[in-house]
Amino acid sequence: MSGPTRRRLLAGCGCCMVASSFGCAPPERPLIPGERPTTATDEGGLWAIMDREEARLARSPLRVNDPGLERYISGIACTVGGAYCRDVRVYVVRNASFNASMAPNGMLQVWTGLLLRTENEAQLAAVIGHELGHFVARHSLTRMRTARTVGDIAAFIALGTAGAGVQGGPQAVQAIAISALFAYSRDQEREADTFGLAAMRQAGYAESEAAAVWAGMAAEERAEPARDRGVPFLATHPGAEEREQTLRTLAASAAGTGRMGEDTHQAALAPLMPTMLADEVRLRRPERSLSVFQRLLARQPNEPGLNAATGEVYRLRAALGDDERALAAFRIAAAAPRPPATAWRGIGLVEQRRGQRAEAAAAFRRYLATTPEPPDAAMIRSYLVEGT
């Protein structure tokens, strides 16, 4: 075949394939409760690899070993999961980012950053319900198959366009393939949201709380300075505001009210709270942290841990006026019967920065007196010596 004819033929093939291809693999049938795929299938391969990951996660130092908390979250997963109760295993992972994920083999990870941001049981149930949606609909498997199909087709088209001498052909094909995959991922997220709400309804939770989770995230994102935000084109999930709207619309048809479970939630999270607050402060994203703390403080304005954490954020940010704000927050925390260690310490450090030696010394002494084995005792004592 002569050169120009061959090139035209390849280009023609390329165009046909682009048009028909980026339609993805058909959605899988939902998982049956208790089902396990056979080893010889691609799904079996996926499960086997996730089983190995789960064995590693179970022994990871990042796993939070709080049996009471795990029982609480497993209880919610069982209520929301219904027939899938025994197929789900819950792992709480110490990571300050907002995330929960469900592996195709039933391993459910909930990160501590997400736990901190949920105000009640219903909100946590909304997130778990959403993840169960991915699990039951076997989204990971569909995504893997789609990625493989799209990748394979793209490879042949890229070869064809390169062979036909089309400039920039392979790169264009790659860009189309990638954007198709990301868009597909967003569709799956919407599907999981729908499933999650239905699961909440069945379990008797207040469906309106699902939107509340995303309202909180949207507020947090808006609080963030513009320079730190991400790129929407590459988003695997719809934005927080879109999710809030979608969930609000879907839940609007809900009849009556459901369970919120604020008290049980706060009791279950209480032991882990100091760690979660410290981890959040350590992220050094003050605007986002303040958004979260202020939302939580709205329901419990005098909660000592939250106030101390707020004080810490202001103290570390040290913008104009932050010293006064930090002191105000620390003083509320310090007034509690058993103040968090950071409260008096924080007052001391801020007063020291303001040059108020006497107040600083008094605060440091209170800190040393009320805190068992403070890790920075030597440093604080050195400040006291300096001051005299």
Binding site: T39, D42, G44, G45, A48, I49, G151, F156
Partner: protein, 233 residues
């Protein structure tokens, strides 16, 4: 239209590249405190994938299970020929408390092994501070393993292997005709021998090639032999 000569050159390069397989460094002889060096064979870490036309690596559970079985058997078969005595390592008898330090040693070795693979004898990625020395150690944590098993050495095996799908083979052929070289499946891994009294990695063999198959017994014997190529006497 690429000349026949070019196609032949590409195919030949592919064959030659697949030939160079391993590179090892380390001790020539084992320390044998009681005439037989006790070597504990740590749980083998092997995973087999299928390489699709577009480059996706799809995990294959049945291939991995077979590979695991074949590799362990093949490694045991190497014992006799080399005058070694491997001990198995049964993780199931460990209590939860014992499991933690053992787990940490394995993870530590995984990290060190990856570092060696990346930075040893690898051109621009070589670590200048090493100045050509091969000195890598797990340090004190290795003592946990010696305490648990009573062995003198620990042998770690790590293998990741991929095999081209029919689509991939088709792409390779089509590409070759157009004068483009597209890689097929790759077998990569390492065998590492740790002296449990010091934690030092005394022998390390790195594997990287385009051939090798762990899915059936005979080729698995060949891979095991290659992995233990140059093992200290």
């Amino acid at each position: 239209m690429p000349t026949t000569a070019r196609i032949v050159a590409i195919v030949l390069t592919a064959i030659l590249v697949s030939g160079c397989a391993t590179y090892h460094r380390g001790a020539e002889t084992l320390r044998r405190p009681s005439d037989v060096a006790a070597i504990v064979m740590m749980p083998v870490d092997v995973e087999i994938f299928e390489l699709s036309a577009g480059g996706s690596l799809e995990p294959k559970a049945d291939w991995t299970e077979a590979a695991h079985r074949n590799l362990v058997e093949a490694l045991r078969a190497e014992e006799a020929g080399r005058g070694l005595a491997f001990r198995g390592f049964d993780e199931t008898v460990l209590t939860a408390e014992q499991r933690v330090p053992i787990d940490q040693v394995q993870r530590l070795h995984g990290a060190v092994g990856r570092a060696i693979q990346t930075h040893w004898n690898s051109g621009p990625l070589v670590l200048p501070a090493k100045q050509g020395r091969f000195d890598w150690t797990l340090g004190a944590p290795a003592a946990a393993l010696r305490g648990q098993t009573g062995a003198d050495y620990a042998l770690f095996i790590w293998v990741r292997d991929s095999h081209s799908s029919p689509g991939r083979v088709g792409l390779i052929v089509a590409a070759a005709i157009l004068g483009v070289s597209v890689p097929g499946g790759v077998q990569t891994g390492f065998a590492s021998l740790v002296d449990l009294s010091t934690g030092e990695i005394v022998w390390f063999n790195r594997l990287l090639r385009g051939v090798g198959d762990l899915r059936t017994a005979e080729p698995a014997r060949e891979t095991a032999r290659t992995l233990l190529d140059g093992f200290p006497r």
